[in-house]
């Protein structure tokens, strides 16, 4: 492994020193105790997802594999590199490489079957770290391959596949960025234990939550940052956090729902099955689907009584997740909700720094400011936002022109309507960001963030250069002028399924100001009144009350005056 033992002693840039002077007072006012110098992104990818000896044993599942890889002489080692292990794997699993190379974990590319858009990390701009494109030296840590740092990476060479990151069962396997990056980032390579590749190779097993979590828990650059419903708390969750992954209960691995064959897995947020009419399957029928309905059917509430009937009446219009995931980021790990790139680039003593002013549920401190990224806001136990969703995500890609005055740019938009049979009401996490864009062309931009050169933003803190180089490097037109634009992205919430007793009560939505009060265009009992009819109705009731009251008063008066007798009459 690459081990760089030298600490970075930054040369003092006079310009930055000037900048520093102006920003120091401001920064110091905010940084009470938790200032941390340097770029240490690994600190955010905590080790919490790793398999460790202290883990409780699998409660239900047993490993009854017909092969013990520890006994294969091919895996005896010693191995000096990852690709060497891969060759050993593929010697026996001689179709695995071809299979794997068809999939998105390898290609980072997805051609949307409905919109025709070319998506995937290889192309997209998001509103977290913005673009993996051109920054593979860092970002491709989460590419299941060895050594993708630039265009020279060979996608046709099977040896480049990293089998171990998904199949390691020891918890000792780790990856580092594929290129060194700026000197400021060298700390990320330090103090790493030696890898025993032979031991890892002999341990291989079907992927557990820990394996998938290595990347999927840390999307967006840190624990829980991106999705809000996926973070390291799902490594050993209790039942309250997720009924299916409950470490002392069902203990599902990811692939229990994300069924797959031939190294292709079901379930994609680019193209979701927003409403699954096929339901459960008999043996021999479809399995490759990640919907709730594929196990629970479309009448999942058991019982032959009115409540079950009424609840099952919702499943055609309301996604299971809407009621059964009352809040997300529930496991003590926070998710990012707001990100302001505009404020990135402040320095302290000429060096990038972090402020850690958010303490999350599990006690860890999270950075609220990073020189390399800007300001963040976090949230936990968040209520999702809700929308009609037909499952088709439409992206603002690097080529999409938008009107920066027309409100927040939707990184991903979707359609769906109450009268569209394929749509249901889905829960979403919304991510709000202010990020750089091309002011002349009104497009998003690729930034050159990572690199061992003078243009990389994570080192020089110069947006202008980082964008110029990022666009040029990838052959995209750039007007030369950048600005900041507000963006929003939508993340369908589908993990952290709560126990039934924690599911939403009816009145969470069936109320005047409920969770669905913003969805318009259809009648919902308890939420919607009838305007003038209600007015008329209440007036009639009040009118009737006043009438009888008036009549009663006059009758009483007449009786008091002894004109009539019936108020005191005897039977």
């Amino acid at each position: 492994m690459i081990m760089i033992k030298q600490r970075w002693v930054g040369p003092i840039f006079p310009l930055l020193a000037l900048l520093l002077a102006s920003l120091l007072s401001q920064a110091e006012a905010r940084a009470t105790e938790a200032v941390e110098l340097g770029i240490t992104e690994y600190a955010d990818t905590s080790q919490a997802h790793r398999v460790s000896p202290g883990d409780p044993p699998a409660a239900v599942r047993v490993n009854n594999s017909t092969a013990d890889h520890a006994e294969f002489k091919e895996l005896r080692g010693p191995f000096s590199s990852g690709p060497e292990v891969t060759r050993a794997c593929l010697d026996c699993h001689n179709q695995a490489g071809h299979q794997f190379m068809q999939g998105i974990h390898w290609t980072w590319e997805y051609k949307h079957p409905v919109t025709g858009q070319l998506l995937g990390k290889k192309h997209l701009v998001n509103n977290f770290c913005t673009n993996a494109r051109g920054n593979e030296g860092m970002c491709a840590q989460c590419h299941a391959g060895y050594g993708w740092k630039d265009d020279s990476f060979d996608f046709s060479n099977q040896d480049n596949i990293d089998c171990l990151v998904c199949h390691d069962a020891t918890g000792s396997y780790y990856r580092t960025p594929n290129s060194k990056g700026n000197a400021a980032c060298s700390i990320m390579f330090e103090d790493k234990p030696e890898l025993d590749l032979a031991k890892v190779a002999q341990s291989v097993a079907l992927p557990s939550r820990s394996n998938c979590g290595t990347c999927h828990f840390y999307g967006g650059g840190g624990d829980g940052v991106k999705h809000g419903d996926m973070d390291s708390s799902l490594k050993q969750p209790d039942k309250a956090l997720d009924v299916h992954m409950d470490a002392h209960g069902l203990d599902f691995g990811c692939t229990e729902c994300h069924q797959g064959e031939g190294h292709q897995w079901s379930g994609s947020r680019y193209h979701l099955e927003a409403r699954d009419n096929a339901g459960t399957g008999k043996p021999g029928q479809r399995r490759q689907v990640a919907t709730c309905e594929s196990c629970h059917g479309d009448t999942p509430h058991p019982g032959n009584h009115l409540k079950a009937l009424k609840l099952n009446g919702h499943t055609d219009r309301v996604a299971c997740q809407t009621c059964h995931i009352p809040t997300f980021a529930r496991g003590g790990v926070a998710t990012k909700t707001d990100w302001a790139w505009r404020t990135a680039g402040r320095l302290k003593d000429g060096e990038g720094f972090k402020l850690k002013e958010y303490t999350q549920g599990n006690g860890e401190h999270r950075a609220t400011y990073k020189s390399i990224k800007g300001d963040f806001k976090y949230g936990e136990n968040l209520k999702p936002s809700y929308a009609w969703f037909d499952g088709v995500m439409n992206y603002t890609t690097i080529d999409t022109k938008f009107d920066p005055q027309a409100g927040a740019v939707k990184i991903n938009a979707f359609s769906g309507a109450h009268d569209d049979p394929d749509s249901r009401i889905w829960p979403f996490k919304q991510m709000h960001t202010t990020q750089p864009y091309d002011k002349g062309n009104n497009t998003l931009v690729y930034m050159h963030l990572w690199g061992d050169d003078a243009d990389a933003y994570w080192g020089n803190y110069d947006f202008g250069r980082a964008i110029k180089v990022g666009m040029e490097k990838n052959g995209k037109p750039y007007s030369g002028e950048y600005g900041f634009v507000e963006t929003v992205s939508y993340w369908p919430i589908t993990h952290m399924v709560a126990p039934r007793e924690d599911a939403l009560a009816c009145a969470e939505c069936h109320a005047r100001e409920g969770r669905l009060s913003e969805l318009r265009g259809f009648y919902m009992p308890g939420r919607d009144g009838f305007g003038w009819l209600d007015m008329l109705g209440y007036l009639a009731v009040i009118g009737a009350l006043l009438l009888v009251l008036g009549h009663a008063v006059v009758r009483m008066v007449m009786c008091k005056k002894r004109v009539t007798e019936h108020c005191r009459g005897e039977e």
């Binding site: 409540k307 009268d419 049979p421 009648y523 009992p525 308890g526 109705g537 009737a544």
Partner: protein, 221 residues
């Protein structure tokens, strides 16, 4: 004209009284739960509201089926035939005469227990408001059976709209109905009558003879 005499008679049979009071209880329950579901008040959780409302509605529909059967087999339905004779006199009585101690213009008989205004009100209740409620209510309850039809969501709006409109009419009816019960000889007289079933009415000799022969227990004095 046959000779008439005042007699205390059981004019509301046991079934009639059971019908009245169980219907009253169910309508109260339906109104309270229904307007809770509508969002008028917040007194009970939505799911409990749905349960109570639905079961009370089913109970009321069952009661109405029995009662419709009962009304036709006993001939009691004739009590509800529209009759405008004396309508104006009754309206004038409630607006004016009652305040000056006049006698009620309608004399209760076995054949006509209700005055003209009352009859019209009950007829409206039985053929208009009631059916509007249960008809829209049943369609509403079984929404899941027709929700796949295109435009079903708009249909649900109109069903709920009519159901709510009828519910407002029902509440208005009930308020006035309850007030009218205080206009008897004493404020509680009519209530007591509805509980005991006994009221002083004018009987013809033939009626009296018939009751004495066939239903002596209904003749109270």
């Amino acid at each position: 004209m046959a000779k008439r005499e005042q007699h205390a008679v059981t004019i509301y049979t046991r079934y009639e009284r059971f019908w009245h009071w169980s219907q009253a209880a169910l309508i109260f329950l339906l109104a309270i739960t229904g307007f809770g579901l509508h969002g008028t008040h917040d007194l009970l959780p939505f799911d409990k509201g749905v349960m109570l409302h639905t079961f009370a509605a089913l109970g009321l529909i069952l009661l109405w089926i029995f009662t419709t059967f009962w009304n036709f087999t006993t001939g009691n339905w004739r009590q509800f035939l529209p009759n405008t004779k004396g309508l104006f006199a009754v309206i004038r009585y409630y607006a004016w005469g009652i305040l000056f101690g006049e006698d009620h213009p309608h004399k209760k008989t076995l054949r006509r227990k209700q005055n003209a205004l009352q009859g019209l009100a009950y007829l409206t209740f039985m053929v208009l408001i009631g059916p509007a409620l249960w008809f829209t209510g049943i369609i509403y309850l079984f929404y899941d059976l027709w929700n796949e039809i295109p435009g079903a969501a708009d249909g649900l709006f109109w069903v709920a709209f009519l159901h709510t409109a009828a519910a407002f009419l029902m509440v208005t009816f009930v308020i006035i109905h309850i007030y009218m019960t205080t206009t008897g000889k004493t404020p509680l007289h009519y209530i007591k009558t509805m509980i005991s079933g006994v009221e002083r009415v004018e009987l013809t000799e033939v009626e009296r003879a018939y009751l004495a022969e066939e239903h002596p227990e209904r003749l109270k004095e």
